[in-house]
Symmetry: none
Subunit: 194 residues, 4 copies
Amino acid sequence: MDNSNRRQAIVSAAISLIAERGLEGFRVRMVATSAGMNHATLLHYFPNKQALVEAVVDQLLEQLRGEGRQHGDPSPWEALSHEFEDLKRRLDRDPSFFVALNEIQLRAYRDPRIARSLQHLYESWRHYLTSVIERGIAVGQFRPDRAVAEIVDVIMVQFRGLGLNALDQVDSKRMETAVAAQLNLLGGWILRQD
Amino acid sequence: MDNSNRRQAIVSAAISLIAERGLEGFRVRMVATSAGMNHATLLHYFPNKQALVEAVVDQLLEQLRGEGRQHGDPSPWEALSHEFEDLKRRLDRDPSFFVALNEIQLRAYRDPRIARSLQHLYESWRHYLTSVIERGIAVGQFRPDRAVAEIVDVIMVQFRGLGLNALDQVDSKRMETAVAAQLNLLGGWILRQD
Amino acid sequence: MDNSNRRQAIVSAAISLIAERGLEGFRVRMVATSAGMNHATLLHYFPNKQALVEAVVDQLLEQLRGEGRQHGDPSPWEALSHEFEDLKRRLDRDPSFFVALNEIQLRAYRDPRIARSLQHLYESWRHYLTSVIERGIAVGQFRPDRAVAEIVDVIMVQFRGLGLNALDQVDSKRMETAVAAQLNLLGGWILRQD
Amino acid sequence: MDNSNRRQAIVSAAISLIAERGLEGFRVRMVATSAGMNHATLLHYFPNKQALVEAVVDQLLEQLRGEGRQHGDPSPWEALSHEFEDLKRRLDRDPSFFVALNEIQLRAYRDPRIARSLQHLYESWRHYLTSVIERGIAVGQFRPDRAVAEIVDVIMVQFRGLGLNALDQVDSKRMETAVAAQLNLLGGWILRQD
DNA sequence: TATGAATGAGCCTTCATTCAT
DNA sequence: CATGAATGAAGGCTCATTCAT
């Protein structure tokens, strides 16, 4: 179990470093130093740099998947709202997480292995959103005249756009407004007006 | 003027390479080869790598600012629609442009010089959008109960999100739908309903 | 302590190379090869070329300061004679040492850090010579009508001139004569004649 | 004749640059710029860098040989004194000349062609000194019990030592004293005392 | 496991030199 | 002659990775 702790520490240090310097500027030696060990020791835990990056990706995606999904039995709209709330909270609490995530996202464009991981996550998220939307329509909370897939796409674009904002280092207040506005926007589009 | 052509060719090759391999993986030698010259010759046109990257940034931003702004005397909503149309056209025609742009955007997070360039562009764009929105409210086309700055932020998040989609290499059709949906979404939120 | 040995080997190789090719022509790669290692390994012991050069300077000056100062309780004139003897021995045994030293001396003209090191050495040597001369005058061995500082300067010029002779690669015999002549010259000038 | 002027300008610029940055740091492009022309143009006057350096050597030696040799019919001792006077004047007027000269002297150690040039000069100078000394002994001005060759060597060492002092950038006053002292030293050794 | 040493591949940059105009 | 462009060789330095202890 100590082994696992050690790996965790390394991956954490790696994420910080990626957020700080980008994948460009990401150096195995620095990660090791930052994790309090010799660089050669680090390579006992990860066979090479690529493996470390992949572990970072896994960790990032795990974290992304992690929270979310609230308890209780929320209505579809509450479920969606919760997703936005969750995003806001993350953006506020740990913006550097999103910096690293964007970095990974770009890398995925060229690294098939990372692309696959990311795709898995997106698919599972898309799946979840789809089910929520469908339920919303079924229970009459959402307008029935929108294509489900389209709604899901819309939401994902919103999230991506908001995630990119993390790079702007704007104040927490403004970020909160931006998230709220997007939710509001969505609501106006899919909520049944009566 | 041949000098200028040569520089153009280099910058173009550089953008392609950045899109292809990222700023990580961006090698002066490759750019030179790709532009059909010795790497030392390239440094004849740009004093060093950093200068080349900056030229790329300038070119990218210039291109971004470039088109847009249509002719005639469009209504505010037509003006906004045109922006989305324009984005769609670009995404379709030259997706790698957006890949490079995202790359630069991430780099701006750490490179103050690039950050400044980007900020200039964003400010000018924000300025333009603000004027359009204000006019739309003034002429009664847009709802008066939305904060202008908030609307502008919303649009910028939408564009960023859509830009990131370029990385997914989805088919042109689906991208078109995504852009249209976002425009639709925006319309539902700010257009005066009667 | 092996580490220290390795550094020593590198510095020695560096001195040889400087003597052979000058600071112009001084290549890290060559030093490494000459010391039997990869050039990257060398940079494991010295962070960069400049640091290596400085180590060379230190070593050279250390060596210069090193020997000298004989045992027993010599008269002032014997002390001076010993300095010349010592120089002669060095010139004979390791002429390339002086080649490197001249090289460094020229570099000091432009490199403040080296200039400082050299100045320290010269000051300490000047200090020593001053004390010897003063004692010589006090005990009546040297003529009292010469300014001490002037005598010291004279001696230093002599040493510098003799050191430059190392470049001529003349035979050991002739060098010996030259040193002896300078000592003789000095004696005629400062020794009390009776 | 304009051609000759141009070459002169280039060589002068080259000497200044060598004095300023050493042969290490000596760049064809800089010389050209400093002489007010394109670097490629410079290579119309000197086929390559080496040729330029050799021209510098020639010029330096020419200058060294140049002055000297006074008019009238001086006594041997006056002739020697004049040499020292001349050196003093040069050291005072153009110390950077000696910096460049030392630089060349070191280079001669490895460059046979330069070595030969230097040797020619030294031989001719040695020849001149020899004749002066012999005459001095013949006319009874110098002590007859010194070996002529030895005296000549002594003088040359003195000159070399004084030349190296140019690097110390000491004040003119002190340099003057040093030269005078060496002359004095020499006089005490060879002048017939009566 | 842990680590310091070692290494080869590779990158950016410099520079003397060549060449076409 | 003059010059801007071009080039190849080389140099200092970095870095992921391997290895012996």
